[in-house]
Amino acid sequence: MLAWTIYITFFGVLVLMLLPRDNARAARIVALLTAIAGCVVAFVGAIQQANPGEVTTIVKVPWIPSIGANYYLAADGISLVLVVLTGLAAVSGILFSWNIEKRTKEFFAFYLALIGGVYGVFLSFDVLLLFVFYELTIIPKYFLIARWGSTRKEYGAMKLALYSFVGSHLVLIGLIAAWVVAKGQLGHASLDLIELSKVAFPVAFQHWVFPLVFVGFAILAGMWPFHTWAPTGHVAAPTAGSMLLAGVVMKLGAYGCLRVAMVMFPEGVREWQWAIAALAVAGIVYGAGVALVQRDFKFVIGYSSVSHMGFVLLGLATLNTIGLDGAVLQMFSHGIIAGLLFGVVGRMVYDRTHTRDFNDLETMQLGKLIPFAGVTFVIAGVASMGLPGFSGFVAEFQVLMGAWSVFPKLTILSGVGILIGVAYTLRAVQKGFYSDAPPKSVDHDHPFEPITIAERFGAVMLIGASLIIGLFPGLLMNWIEPCFNSPLSMFARLLVKGGSQ
């Protein structure tokens, strides 16, 4: 059933391509319907899955027998969480880009192609298939930003595309080497992730190939110091583009780290555990610190994404159940919250005021002019700070719990990152919406276009998701926990030593 998320989405791309060129309205509706259908299928399929702790095969047919590749789609609890996230992000992204007038049909075609690729990555249990979907997302990203973006869009788009491509090529090198070694050990060619997760790669081999694959994926997860694509990319992207970049694309990277790099090379992870944690914490603190001094509203959110993704990587590096649980939950939580923040800044504020400069925004008193945006941003900001009651709290708390037992000093340091996080969020709220600076000019005395129904829907949907998971984390934890707890799962090898500390 879940496979239909992919098929429906790509079918939507086809339908969009066949639509007449200038019918923007039809394009929007087709895109929205496709995204909703995908989202519903994701939800229903996820709920129907009986045992989230096990990998449930959806379809497995031979694809290229000579190299052992299968068309193998399956899902476990982690896939379920991320597929649901993708569904939510896709729908809200379309709601927040309802006002795209320039080449609407092409915009949504690229948008849905990206979403389809993302669904594919989360559901692939064949490494080659996963890689195919992973690379498939690069091209739509590039065109979405370069064509429909703002501020230095071509630079941002090319940077993102090249970073992604270099990352995926690092992965490719590692995969080819691993494929050859695994072939020697298994006696037959295999690209099946579950099979590869049981191969005992030589320790020395793991030590050098793991960082290659991990970094290759982590580039897209915004790991410091390879994060520089993220702020520029987010800022340059159109609203829906940054929502997807922060919401799901960065998760692709983190997911690849966990599902491919860590599962295949557990010895490699143990060797590099400290380095990953250190880089993750560096990202948390650095991202937060830089966010604190930005003048451009979107850069604040862009750097905050780097900071929050640091928690995901830190959680991965703990190699204990609670840390990994937290990491996966943080992927979901950040996807929702960052999407919301970008929605507010990109759509509600920038599309109306045409500026993101705090110096200009300070004089506008947006909190009074567009109160809905102000309130939404406050809620999103509070969620992003990690206040109890929102999903971010549960996630980051678990990550810190997990990290405390392994790297106490680094954990304290990341606490500093959280404090700075509070500071930059409050600063953004104050400067962006509730400044008491006197109005500088009367340029903006004309009322802004009121917040549309589409925006309200999107905002409420994302806030709701974050609240529900914050109050009832069990809903997702019931999917995530069994994946790491079961001794039979593909992660078992990863946790054997790390969890005992």
Binding site: I67, E135, I139, F143, A146, L172, A177
Partner: protein, 488 residues
């Protein structure tokens, strides 16, 4: 010595014979019936005849399953060589289809028949295991290619390109012949298998090294590998675009096929090793160097090109580098991976050149700037271009990606202890570079707008049909490579 049985030769060389007859028909029709008709009509009818001939030859080669070896390897017919003839004929058909809209010449019959003559040379090239025949077939095909390059008489660059191509080609032929003569001297035979026996057990003598290097030089020119690549960018740029497509596709397929044959059949025992930290002199390290240089130089130079044809030429040099990896790793798996790569590459290249042809005819030049706004001016054409360039860049699920995966995994698998991994790392790193310049062209087509209110581009029907079919094949072989690998 057995008396020569001409009937048997004719039977074994039936596909070539059919194409030869087609040449006569096309030429004849053009000078008689079609005289006085418009160029477009002559092109269309001539193309139809040529395609009919090629298609029937291809069908024949595809249907028959014979193994034969005439005159001690001079003419070898096997299902494998027959499949490559089919591939060559298909490539020729596509080349003809994209040239039908050409306005660069009024010598339609001659142009079409030269393409066919070139194809005949290439067909003989893939069906021989004898150095003499290799040389004759290669020169026969090359002569046709030289003339095809010079065919645009309105363009000075065309003549310059052809002269350059011809001089370089002539020199490479000399090198090749020199190398072959040494081989004959060492082994006492021109037959590849006998050469292998002849040089086996003789150790590694300097004469063999000279023979080896000169052979590599000779073929290096033909496949445009660095440092013997200098003719390629000029030839690609100056030649009429369909001719460039033919040089970049059909001629490449045949050259790589025969190159692989010479090295893997003829130089058994003189492989050496190109493994990291474990170099041994032989032919593989020589090719490794040429391959590495081609990948690096081709990709880096392509970045700065403003003419799309030159860009494609440098990308062709880079791709030749990747393909050479398949030869030097020297296993049956890597050889078939290499052939998969060459064939899918050839299909993609014809497609890319086809798009360039249309844009060039419509806008007058092939610079990247002329591709601006293509997604609005000709959406279908732009989509085809995107598919071809992304495939060349190695983006899944297109054929170019899966070809790279096949090739690189086979190469790594071939070297013991991942010894050849360094070459693959280099290749993958360079392929990441290549993505940048393909994206530059696509950026012009999709992101930038045309300078003024540029009119829509009318894409000639036949060309468009060929492009759509090629794009379809590129996707098909990417999604279901088994359809092609079963023959390799």
């Amino acid at each position: 010595m057995n008396p020569v049985n001409y009937l048997q030769i004719l039977q074994l060389a039936a596909p070539e014979t059919i194409v030869t007859l087609t040449v006569l028909v096309v030429l004849g029709a053009d000078v008689t019936v079609l005289r006085g008709k418009s160029i477009a009509a002559r092109f269309n009818i001539g193309a139809l005849l040529a395609i009919l001939g090629c298609a029937s030859a291809a069908l024949l080669a595809f249907m028959r399953h014979i193994e034969a070896n005439l005159f001690n390897g001079l003419l070898v017919v096997s299902p494998s060589s027959d499949f490559f003839k089919v591939a060559l004929l298909v490539l020729t058909i596509f080349t003809i289809l994209i040239s039908t809209s050409g306005k660069f010449t009024d010598h339609v019959g001659e142009y079409l028949s030269l393409i066919l003559l070139g194809t005949i040379g290439l067909m003989f090239l893939v069906s021989t295991e004898d150095l003499l025949m290799v040389f004759i077939a290669l020169e026969f095909a090359s002569l046709a290619l030289y003339i095809l390059t010079a065919f645009n008489k309105h363009n000075e660059k065309s003549a310059e390109a052809a002269l350059k191509y011809f001089l370089f080609g002539g020199m490479s032929a000399a090198f090749l012949l020199f190398g072959f003569s040494l081989l004959y001297g060492i082994a006492g035979s021109t037959n590849l298998r006998e050469i292998a026996l002849g040089i086996a057990g003789k150790g590694f003598d300097p004469l063999l090294l000279v023979a080896l290097v000169t052979t590599v030089i000779g073929f290096g020119f033909k496949v445009a590998a660095v440092p013997f690549h200098l003719w390629a960018p000029d030839a690609y740029e100056g030649a009429p675009t369909p001719s460039a497509a033919f040089i970049g596709s059909g001629s490449k397929v045949a050259s790589f096929y025969v190159l692989a044959k010479i090295f893997t059949l003829g130089f058994i025992g003189a492989e050496g090793s190109a493994a990291y930290h474990n170099f041994l002199s032989g032919w593989t390290p020589v090719i490794a160097i040429v391959a590495a240089l081609s990948m690096v130089l081709g990709n880096l130079t392509a970045i700065v090109q403003s003419s799309v044809k030159r860009l494609l030429a440098y990308s062709a040099i880079a791709h030749a580098g990747y393909m050479l990896l398949g030869i030097l790793s020297n296993t049956p798996v890597s050889a078939s991976a290499m052939m998969f790569y060459v064939i899918t590459y050839a299909l993609t290249t014809i497609g890319a050149f086809g798009v360039v042809t249309v844009v060039e005819e419509a806008t007058g030049s092939d610079t990247i700037a002329n591709f601006r706004g293509l997604s609005r001016r000709a959406p279908g054409l732009a989509l085809c271009l995107m598919i071809f360039l992304l495939s060349l860049g190695g983006i899944p699920p297109l054929a170019g990606f899966i070809a790279k995966f096949f090739l690189f995994s086979a190469v790594v698998n071939a070297g013991a202890n991942l010894g050849l991994l360094w070459l693959v790392i280099l290749a993958i790193a360079m392929s990441a570079v290549s993505f940048y310049y393909y994206l530059r062209v696509l950026k012009a087509a999709y992101v930038e707008d045309a300078a003024e209110a540029a009119p829509a581009i009318q894409v000639p029907l036949l060309t468009f049909l060929a492009l759509v079919l090629l794009a379809f094949l590129v996707i098909l072989f990417g999604v279901a490579p088994g359809l092609l690998t079963q023959f390799l």
